[in-house]
């Protein structure tokens, strides 16, 4: 089933056209890789899906993006609610200027998520006083991001004190904490050391059970390793997209073949 339907999406910054009438359907609960040479519009495509593009003043967007049938570029859409459904993991982690604990608790707090109603919180804790529930929640998402064991003794330390690999997993926990349906990740491992990168990749594989994960990468091998579905962009045009097996096994387009074989990069 397709989760996201993109129809004739064009994006330009000032006079510079970045995406050219891109149309595609993105399937649910899979890992989707957006690949292509740098400057081909991968990040722009990603940021169009949670309207993070809006932050840029010069940007002009035309076309439709529908998530579960709902056009997210409708003028009356609640952008904050949209971003809660579509989480975003940036290329480099920028921890919020607060403790590790608060970084994870921030999202649920601003969205007023009723901590006690979440499934991860047990009955006993629900009855307990104070923010036991929040504590359980923070632990849950830190575990989900594979960071809990490393930080459980210093939850109140500033998040900026963590290593960059840990910060990236904290960013992942932060995204998960708002219970999104879709996770967008912009080259999530490019700033990381190999071990941290591996940890993030492993988490992705676990998370795809429940989330639709769309990630941008310029590393072809990473796309092969992780992705179930590939979207290939070249100079703002959508060249080819489809299940990873078919995409790598029998690519249709000449450009795809050239890219896979490393002739263009």
């Amino acid at each position: 089933m397709s989760k996201i339907k993109i129809k004739k999406l064009s994006v330009s910054y000032g006079n510079h056209q970045v995406l050219n009438e891109v149309s595609l359907d993105i399937p649910e609960r899979q890992i989707i890789a957006v690949i292509g040479p740098s400057g081909c519009g991968k990040t722009t495509l990603l940021k169009s899906m949670n309207r993070l593009l809006d932050l840029n003043e010069d940007v002009a967007v035309s076309g439709d993006i529908a998530i579960d049938g709902e056009n997210i570029y409708r003028p009356d859409i609640d952008v904050n609610a949209l971003r809660k459904r579509v989480g975003f993991l940036p290329q480099r982690p920028y921890p919020l200027p607060m403790s590790i604990f608060d970084n994870v608790a921030f999202g649920p707090k601003i969205h007023g998520l009723d901590v006690s109603s979440l499934s991860v919180v047990s009955n006993k804790e629900r009855e307990g006083k104070g923010n036991k529930g929040t504590q359980r929640l923070v632990e849950h998402y830190l575990r989900l991001a594979g960071l809990w064991e490393e930080v459980k003794d210093r939850l109140n330390a500033p998040a900026a004190k963590l290593s960059i690999g840990q910060q990236q997993r904290l960013a992942l926990a932060r995204v998960l904490s708002i219970e999104p349906e879709i996770i967008l990740a912009d080259e999530p491992t490019s700033a990381l050391d190999p071990i941290s990168a591996k940890l993030v990749e492993t988490q992705f594989k676990i998370l795809k059970e429940n989330y639709t994960i769309i990630f941008v990468t310029h590393i072809l091998r990473q796309a092969r390793r992780l992705a179930d579905y590939i979207i290939f962009l070249y100079m703002g045009d959508l060249i080819e997209h489809g299940p990873a097996v078919r995409f790598f096994g029998e690519p249709c387009d000449e450009k795809t073949k050239a890219y896979i074989s490393g002739e263009i990069s």
Partner: protein, 323 residues
């Protein structure tokens, strides 16, 4: 047509052609080195002189102020309220209180305005609007102090008088409140432009992180941007304080200049800078009057310098920690 490249000098060409003019080349090199030395030594000398100037002023004022301490003790000078130069009573307390009161009042009035303005300009406004506003703020900052004073006399003083009438307080309008308002307007452009710079220093991805979680602009400002920029904003405020503390002309024109400890906003006050500016011309006839005013100047300089140093130190640190 393309302009022809100029050769440095004709000598150069001939030298190249003749091929063995080492002494001439050395001579030229020496000349260049001498010029370089002259430039660097004279620039350094002037710089040292300028740096010394600050110290010189400090020492000079201190030296001129010293005689007052032979007559009155330091605590008496600072905390006595009787100011009767004719009777050799030099208590600066009313003036110190006056300065602090006007400054504090100005900060209380201006801070909310400054913070909201700079937050709006940095976080909400479109680039175009920001540029236009920045220009307007620069113009405000460049208006001479005496013009602010005039506006104060023409607008603020009558307004304060009217306000006093409304709530049944006898006032001429020349008061602490008028001084505070005028001073507030004067420091606003100053604090706003520094605060805005500080806020713009917070890297965009931090905002993006919070916004991507579905935070609103205001939540982003409150929990992320302000936290990141906090020490810088404090520094901007302290610099504003320093500014307000020493501002003379505009305040002098509207504050009333009565040597008393003001007990209400509608009372006249007499800040230190106004005291010095008003009286320095007539000090010759009274012994030690001169020294008393110098001690006032010294206090003023000391406080302003301390403020500025702390703020600059904080701003230096901000640059390192904000990213």
């Amino acid at each position: 047509m393309r302009p022809k490249l100029k050769m440095p000098s004709k000598k150069w060409v001939t030298r190249k052609e003749s091929g063995n003019n080492h002494s001439e080349m050395n001579q030229r090199l020496n000349k260049r080195k001498v010029k370089d030395n002259v430039a660097s030594v004279s620039a350094r000398g002037i710089l040292i002189f300028v740096n010394f100037l600050a110290l010189l002023i400090f020492c000079g004022i201190f030296w001129k102020a010293l005689p007052i301490l032979s007559l009155v003790s330091l605590p008496e000078l600072l905390f006595s309220s009787s100011w009767h130069p004719m009777k050799n009573e030099f208590g600066l307390f009313p003036f110190i209180i006056g300065t602090m009161a006007v400054t504090l009042l100005a900060m209380i009035i201006s801070l909310p305005v400054c913070m909201l303005t700079s937050i709006y300009l940095s976080e909400y406004a479109k680039r175009r609007f920001r540029e236009v506003s920045r220009f307007a703020i620069d113009i405000l900052a460049g208006i001479p102090s005496v013009v602010y004073g005039l506006c104060g006399v023409l607008v603020i003083v009558p307004l304060v008088e009217f306000m006093g009438e409304l709530i049944g307080v006898q006032t001429t309008g020349y008061s602490l409140l008028a001084g505070g308002i005028v001073l507030a307007v004067m420091v606003i452009p100053f604090i706003v432009s520094i605060s805005m710079e500080v806020l713009r220093m917070v890297p965009e991805p931090y905002r993006e992180s919070a916004l991507a979680l579905g935070a609103t602009r205001w939540e982003t400002v409150k929990y992320v941007v302000l936290k990141k920029a906090r020490s810088g904003l404090i520094a901007a405020t302290v610099l504003g304080f320093a500014r307000a503390f020493g501002e003379t002309m505009a305040v002098l024109m509207v504050v009333g200049n009565v040597a008393q400890i003001p007990t209400s906003l509608f009372d006249a006050a007499y800040p230190l800078p106004a005291l010095i500016a008003n009286n320095y011309g007539e000090v010759m006839s009274i012994p030690l009057y001169d020294a008393a005013l110098m001690s006032a100047a010294f206090i003023l300089m000391l406080v302003v310098t301390l403020f500025s140093l702390t703020a600059h130190y904080a701003l230096l640190k901000v640059g390192k920690t904000i990213a």
